[in-house]
Assembly symmetry: C2
């Protein structure tokens, strides 16, 4: 219910205002007539300082608007600064060309439109792919640092390589739906520092461009004109209620809601059960809820990124992943977002990785939770409680074909395909609530390709824009590649910024 964080209806009705912002009565959104005076005014107000908000602010500023960006927390950067900073880009980016990687807009679009969610929003996908080369150029222009190095290793590079296969392109069935190409573009830094670097660069640019950046200013409620246009925003500015007027429009870029337990249970029960809510502390759903309060439609609210902790090390993908019926259900080499989706949404949250004496966990063994160990597959099955004979049947069938280099069910690639060799056999728990299973949300406001927030009848709410995980964007279930979220934030953030700057000025 979020009462702890926001202005309650009761408080609004009681008149919580200061001298400057006198709020007489109100609700989930406030009519303009109830705001007696504004505490400030700007052309464009952006709520949220992650990649979406800062990209929107930069684009709006570049288009000549006065821009103020507010951040609820003391520190700028949002969840983007915690992320790997990967941007999914392709079609022949400068980095791809420097590394002689072949790619095309068509193959990128084919992958994104076919390998993931059913009936994806083709308008957003098409523009994202067509503009991908130019969008990566923009990231270079901002000063984001990439190295001309490629790595074939699975998972976010911990070295300084900047290009890798960040998704499920090479796993079956994706590799039959589109020609694989590495499209994960990540800042070239040691360790998982790409997101921090990306946000430092973009924030520095925003400061340099004259965007007003304010921390500890939390967006709480929208103010609406009689005709439905967004007039401004009620905020809590260092704990003081304030009313900010927007002349052209507002961009909600407040992230998702992985830390709002009540919302999560209501909208996305599968994510509620994942062990590690993964996102910045600001991911409380404020932007989504403010948008819904003024009539916005919200899409895909149940979906999210549920990450199965199956690699690194990729060596263990020579094992098999099974469900509670001891059946395999997916190619083990699938991107961990695809595997995570399968476990969290389609296997009741439960799965196990079965390995043999050949498995080498290297330095990563502590990341795995052992559920059982035995000298035979039969004993291991009893140990875990699999149905009689089921694991034995699964392993016999798998081994029989793996010996000849085949995987009829899921066509696992040669590097990972071999029969299970012998004891000790181990089962590693990949269940959402027992393993390290990070999750964040995908659902959000329904927007046009230019970030205009749409109501339930398909019309734009005048003056209201949104971007990033506050919207229903490119990240959909199953999440098929790292970089689609930050890529969506930066690309559609910029589009929203351009559009809001061009939005007609409202009444004073």
């Amino acid at each position: 219910m979020q009462r702890g964080r926001g202005i309650s209806r009761r408080a609004l009705l009681a008149g919580a205002g200061t001298a400057a912002a006198t709020i007489a009565a109100g609700a989930a959104a406030l009519p303009r007539s109830k705001v007696k005076a504004w505490d400030g005014s700007t052309d464009v107000l952006v709520a949220g300082s992650g990649a979406a908000g800062v990209s929107a602010a930069l684009a709006a500023r570049a288009a000549g608007a006065r821009v103020t960006l507010i951040e609820a927390l003391p520190k700028l950067g949002g969840s983007s600064a915690m992320s790997g900073g990967v941007v999914y880009a392709g079609g022949g980016t400068e980095l791809q060309r420097a590394l002689r990687v072949e790619d095309s807009v068509e193959q990128m679009f084919a992958f994104l439109s076919r390998a993931g969610a059913p009936h994806p929003p083709l308008d957003k996908l098409q523009r994202y792919c067509e503009d991908s080369v130019a969008h990566f150029d923009w990231l270079l222009d901002q000063g984001v640092r990439y190295t001309e190095k490629f790595t074939a290793a699975k998972g976010l590079p911990m070295g300084d390589e900047s290009l890798y296969f960040s998704g499920t392109e090479q796993a079956w069935p994706a590799r039959e739906l589109a020609t694989p190409a590495p499209r994960g573009h990540v800042p070239g830094l040691q360790g998982m520092n790409g997101g921090r670097h990306l946000m430092e660069v973009l924030l520095q640019r925003a400061r340099g461009a004259g965007v007003t950046l304010r921390t500890r200013v939390a967006a709480e409620r929208l103010v609406v004109e009689d005709d439905g246009r967004i007039a401004g925003l009620l905020v809590r500015d260092n704990d003081q209620p304030r009313a900010l007027r927007v002349r052209r429009g507002l961009v909600l870029a407040c992230g998702g809601f992985i830390h709002n337990r009540a919302m999560l249970q209501r909208y996305a029960p599968q994510l509620f059960d994942c062990s590690v809510p993964w996102g910045n502390a600001g991911d409380m759903g404020a932007g989504i809820n403010m948008g819904i309060a003024v009539g916005a439609a919200a899409l895909r609210m149940h979906q999210g990124f549920a990450i199965a902790p199956v690699y690194p090390p990729e060596h263990v993908l020579s094992g098999i992943v099974v469900n509670a019926s001891a059946q395999r259900f997916i190619s083990e080499e699938s991107y961990h977002g695809v595997l995570g989706d399968a476990i969290a949404y389609h296997q009741g949250g439960r799965a196990w990785l079965i390995t043999d004496k050949g498995a080498d966990f290297g330095m990563h063994q502590d990341n795995f939770v052992m559920a059982g160990e035995a000298n035979t597959i039969g004993d291991l099955a009893v140990n875990i409680g699999f149905p009689s004979g089921a694991l034995q049947h699964t392993v016999a069938y798998y081994n029989r074909f793996a010996e000849t280099g085949e995987d009829p069910l899921f066509r696992k690639s040669a590097p990972y395909l071999r029969p299970l060799l012998g004891a000790p056999y181990r089962a590693w728990d990949l269940s959402v609530d027992r393993a390290f299973f990070p999750a964040h949300t995908f659902g959000g406001l329904h927007t046009t390709v230019d970030g205009q927030v749409l109501d339930s009848f398909g019309d734009a709410i005048p003056g209201l824009f949104a971007a990033g995980r506050t919207t229903a964007g490119l990240p959909m279930a199953p999440y098929i590649a790292s970089g689609l979220s930050v890529g969506d934030c930066t690309y559609f953030g910029r589009r929203a910024g351009r559009a809001v700057a061009a939005h007609p000025v409202g009444a004073a």
Copy 2:
């Protein structure tokens, strides 16, 4: 976008009003100030004449309110009149006791809270179970006709029996989570006429009680006071725009959105792909969209009832149901809503029923779509295109245990459990887009147990109530029993009617 059906923003801005209802400018919802005059007024306005709307109208009228009920279509009854008319009831109803069926509120609650969706709304479930005996008494009091006959057959009785196992109570794992009891209460009529009878009785009661019933009056937009309270409704009354004032409140009971293809693709792509949109022509999402337009939260918008056509005849459940990997994934005797959910949402929409020479389809063979036929399982597998050896492995494992009366994976009951005997082997297509696969929607407005519509911050929108498939109610994915939808409509419809009648009168 629904532009074809409703008032467009453009039309509202152009002033679509008649002399009586002059609409100067507007959007997804209309401010009260834009309505120059009302064309009519009532204490309680109910939109929709299905079980939810009529139950709400009856309860509001019984509480002393003047009630008008409007229906967009020329005929009253909604989707409820097309349904089987089953109400899920238990805990020792008069009919259960007459038939010496043992049941308890606790076991009914255990089944409903454990056998279906994760994290269900326990508040609604609890009240529904606790009041179930009284609710069935109310149905009897209205004059709905039940016979004191029980049938053990699966599926809606085509005879005049009134009590049956309408859900997945007896299938594994449900039968281990709660003691099974027959709780499907269906009017005692030959053929599938329960819904028609139920609605005839309730509508006659409503007429007799003095509820004003109007057809061809379509709810289009809500009218909202400055403080957020619902002031009234814009309707299209026999094609004329009219504005109706509500003194106490409005109940949206306009059904779901299975016939709104654009909404379906956006919110529920899995249902979009099902072959038979199943519901009354009015299921266009109007109530849900009007609620969203005034700030209501909507839940479970992706979910629905997807019905796998696997029985009748139940005799064929001695076959096995497999996915594209030729694996079994569920007990074949599961309620067809549970199996349908598994296919539509968790198996990519594809499944097959494999039968042998022992299968007897009786008069029902025309209901099935044959995908292949062969003299060996291996040939059948090639015929369908299953992965090498997979179907053979599945059948070998299944047969091995079935011979001893066991089904380790899904514990299929004895009446359906036997090895596959011999040729001809046949595969029947259970895919959502090839088989007869009816579907309707479950997602809708977030409401309290009394039908008050909640906004995104958890507060009630004053004067706005909803019931039935316009709300997120008891029907959740997986749908575990017939009768939960009509049961939810009648029970929570009545609660909403009582609550709206007691709602304070708004300003004139």
